[in-house]
Amino acid sequence: MAVVKVDKLARSVAEGPSLMTGSIPTKNWMDVPAVFKPGNYAYPAKAEVIRYLDSQKGVSFPNAREWSPEDDDWKLPENWKEIILQGLADRLDRFRSLKIFMDCCVRCGACADKCHFFLGTGDPKNMPVLRAELLRSVYRKEFTRAGKILGRMVGGREMTVGVLKEWFMYAYQCTECRRCSVFCPYGIDTAEITMMLRELLHMVGVGINWAMEPVANSNRTGNHMGLTPQAFKGNVEFLCDDIENLTGIRVNPTFNRKGAEVLFITPSADVFAEPGIFTCMGYLLLFEAIGLDYTWSTYASEGGNFGLFTSNEMMKKLNGKMYAEAKRLGVRWILGGECGHMWRVLHQYMDTMNGPADFLEVPRSPITGTVFENAASTKMIHISEFTADLIKNNKIKLDKSRNAHVVPTFHDSCNPARAMGLLDEPRYILDNVVDNWFEMPPNTIREQTFCCGSGTALNTDEIMELRMRSGLPRANAVRYVHEKHGVNTLGCVCAIDRATLTTLMNYWVPEVQVAGLSELVGNALVIEGEQRQDLTEGLRTLV
């Protein structure tokens, strides 16, 4: 019997008739233009939002206008090219890291297959090395001698409208999660390249609304949602009523109280949207159980800082608000809730932007006496650090059986994991609040965790398909532990995660719900004087 040769057949794969469109690249990547169609881009920022922001002190968002990515003409300012190249020159001068990242990549490819966007789309321009090359090619042409002379022969290319459009496409197919950086032998932080691309695009009025409207809202009312102080306070009090119904405990938080020991800041989604509100109920119960002397601020009413996804100046301004409020209220230190990128801003940029916060004290837990030297400069600690320390010192009573309905796994949120090294505290908390929990495979957790796929202001519904495919690597690992161990809950410590992983799970693994760790703490917490109902679903139980 003749043996069919696979290699011979492989040829017929390319040659034979096919129902599918063969996609073997026939062009150099530089010659493949970005094509915008409904569903593959996030909506541009509204002109009125940009105009408002441009009128604000300390930030610059020029060239506000109505435009559409699908139009040929993006109505760029006449001297757009000059603006971009001057902007790049300024940044190369200001940020030594950018200059190094532009020069030192040897294109080894270690990052290529580490990006969740590449893994979900198969689009080579989503390989971090090639995404960076979109900028690097222009840098070579305009800022290196070899590139000026030899151009494309040395990987340089002219800055054109097509290149700009490509930047917009791929700078917004990166969630700045920094998984690729973990694998880069040179430590190139590709997220910072995306940040630069976005900054440059803002100089010519090209940005997305899902980033800019929350930024405008935060600048104006203090939080993404644009909640007024009254609405913010009302929402928290509404959660206090829920807590009383469920547990018999009346929690009476204070707002804008001067002289409190601690200022508590968390993402506004925690006081507003499911499932974050259950996490928030967890915070409120915990603080009540230990009698913490703390206050909320209705002005620093947002942990999230979409400035990180926008521009250095915007990030600085929004971060500064937290410290200005801490100063105004005269607190000793700041306790931060379960937020993702707030912690990246805190740990990697705050000190040189707004710090050191000398007017605050090094955080010291008033309950255990533990001094958090790791936050000696920023004066702000994460709720997981604080809670883990309480548990370690036996200061709270936990009943695991109250979480009997929960079989969790833990998703390391990108920024707390990779930007602040918060890896073990959440796991220690889980060990103490549930009977059993299960880790996802090693190459999908801790420093190597996969992004939710919707960070950096990409959690908008017009790009739902893009979010689902970029979230596939995360969902795929969750599905594995769901099928193997019966995991039904995905624990996390980030508000964007709580929102976006919920949608991601609905699509890929609908049997799994998403919960903040503090919700699981709140479920298990035994408080003196409580008259707790039979809460079969913990704080989510409808009574």
């Binding site: 019997m1 003749a2 043996v3 069919v4 696979v6 011979k8 057949l9 017929s12 794969v13 390319a14 034979g16 008739p17 096919s18 129902l19 599918m20 063969g22 996609s23 073997i24 690249p25 509204k46 009125e48 408002y52 009128s55 290529a112 297959d113 590449f118 893994l119 979900g120 789309t121 198969g122 689009d123 080579p124 609304n209 899902w210 409207e213 405008a216 809202n217 104006r220 949602m225 644009g226 007024t228 507003f272 949207a273 499911e274 190459n443 999908t444 959690n459 519904d461 739902m464 398909e465 689902m468 495919r469 596939l472 690597p473 690992a477 929102a499 949608t503 609905n506 699509y507 890929w508």
Partner: protein, 179 residues
């Protein structure tokens, strides 16, 4: 030789070509084809596992219900990638061509080419089931959109600011400075 026997003996060749052709529908399929770790390469490994399971089920003449899970494993991914609906489910119909190609390459199996009607019919049924799953996936996406809108997160955009609205109502006020 019967068709089932031929399919069993040619399983590796058929699967290899089928998977290769399916992954070639991506722009840069090299990594999807080569990486074996299911967590490092979810697209490649799920499609490989799904198509392999489907082939076994076809040979075993399993009922369509049994095909639902491996079909879902492949279709759920392709339903959110940049394919048209037809392109998303095309791989299942492609199997007919692949089987004919492999069987015609061997003298012993060539006579079976005229006896593939039943198999073709099974493959068609599988492809139609795949289209059902594709539609369910798309509907799920729209439900997700609605759920996000209802959850209140949509207030992130288009949020009405009472103070801005008030200002707009006042004559002569500059409304453009408020979003």
């Amino acid at each position: 030789m019967e068709v089932t026997e031929a399919l069993t003996s040619k399983k590796q060749e058929i699967l290899s070509v089928w998977i290769e052709r399916t992954l070639d529908s991506y722009i840069a399929p090299g990594f999807f084809k080569s990486a074996k770790d299911p967590f490092a390469n979810p697209v490649g490994s799920n499609i490989t596992a799904g198509l392999t399971a489907l082939f076994d089920l076809l040979v075993a003449k399993a009922d369509l219900q049994a095909c639902a899970k491996p079909l879902d494993q492949v279709v759920r991914i392709r339903a959110v990638q940049e394919f048209t609906p037809a392109q998303a489910v095309a791989p299942f119909l492609e199997l007919k061509w692949v089987v004919k190609q492999v069987l015609s390459g061997d003298k012993a199996t060539r006579p079976l080419l005229g006896k593939l009607d039943a198999l073709d019919c099974d493959i068609d049924r599988m492809a139609l089931t795949a289209f059902n799953i594709y539609s369910e996936c798309r509907e799920q996406l729209y439900r997700n959109r609605i759920r996000e809108l209802k959850s209140g997160r949509a207030l992130l955009t288009d949020a009405a600011c009472p103070s801005a609205l008030l200002r707009r109502e006042q004559p002569g006020a500059d409304a453009t400075t408020e979003p």
